[in-house]
Symmetry: C2
Subunit: 139 residues, 2 copies
DNA sequence: ATATATTTGCAACATTGTTTCATTTGAAAA
DNA sequence: TTTTCAAATGAAACAATGTTGCAAATATAT
């Protein structure tokens, strides 16, 4: 699905900045950092607008933010098939962070389980970050 | 165990800043933010030294850092019994973040499972953050 | 008590994220 | 097509967060 249609589907305005972010993420097989997206956006990148668009795109469920560490953040495009799940703001899968090449991979196969919580606690969403060595780095 | 002994056990120097951080965390039942620790440290707080000590204390396994979001970080004291596990830098339990009162709770009972990863991926450590409403906020 | 490696605290800087507000623009209606 | 208006942009200014170099101070072992 192209960027224009994705925006239309979520009822938010089609703007240069948003299209550029979505296109950048579509060009990649894995989630990207702000700087990586910035490189791909070329002249259409503006830092303030970027933050605001990331906010909006996350809020409507077009992308998701992966916080590996406070100084290590990635943004990933949601699959169109899972749009409805995401618009309910629930993570569906775990993320993998490779400590060697610093890439982040969406592990679509590794689903978020229901955790058994102590009495009184109610879960709305969970983040799972698995750290280690990715397939490419395991020679 | 008191702060002095904890430092000695891990073979790092006993300094005012480190003792103050450990004491602050021992006064609390749950992990604290930098500002919360700062309040408890009083005049012995220095921002740069704080960051460096957090680094050191984390590296030797006295405390652990919980990154709920890039702008929402907590530091928790490790239990002495689990010191050996922690010095191997492996998380043992999941963390809960209450979206209402913004507190973080160590869910000692909720152990980190072994995730079934795709071919080629090797896990060294995992972070699990469960978000929702804590017992206190569920009236 | 002394020696020495570690730690501290300051200055200065770099990065990251937010708010306000005037201007521009997308998209719907006339 | 032109008009209209809420939404989005981008600049300035700020706030918070995190890092590095370096001289002075200090914890521990001898």
């Amino acid at each position: 699905m192209n960027a224009t249609d994705i925006l239309k589907l979520h009822n938010i305005k089609k703007t240069a900045g948003r299209l550029a972010i979505i296109n950048a993420l579509q060009e990649s097989t894995c989630p990207l950092s702000e700087n990586e997206i910035k490189e791909l956006m070329l002249e259409s990148y503006d830092r303030i607008t970027f933050y605001r668009n990331i906010q909006t795109l996350t809020a409507v469920g077009i992308i998701h933010k992966i916080v590996v560490d406070n100084t290590l953040i990635r943004y990933g495009l949601n699959c169109c098939e899972t749009v409805h799940e995401h618009s309910a703001h629930r993570n569906t899968h775990a993320h993998f962070y490779c400590e060697q090449c610093h890439s982040v991979v969406c592990l679509q196969e590794v689903k978020i389980p229901e955790f058994c919580l102590p009495e009184g606690f109610i879960s709305a969403d969970s983040d799972i970050i698995i750290k280690g060595k990715c397939e490419k780095c395991n020679h």
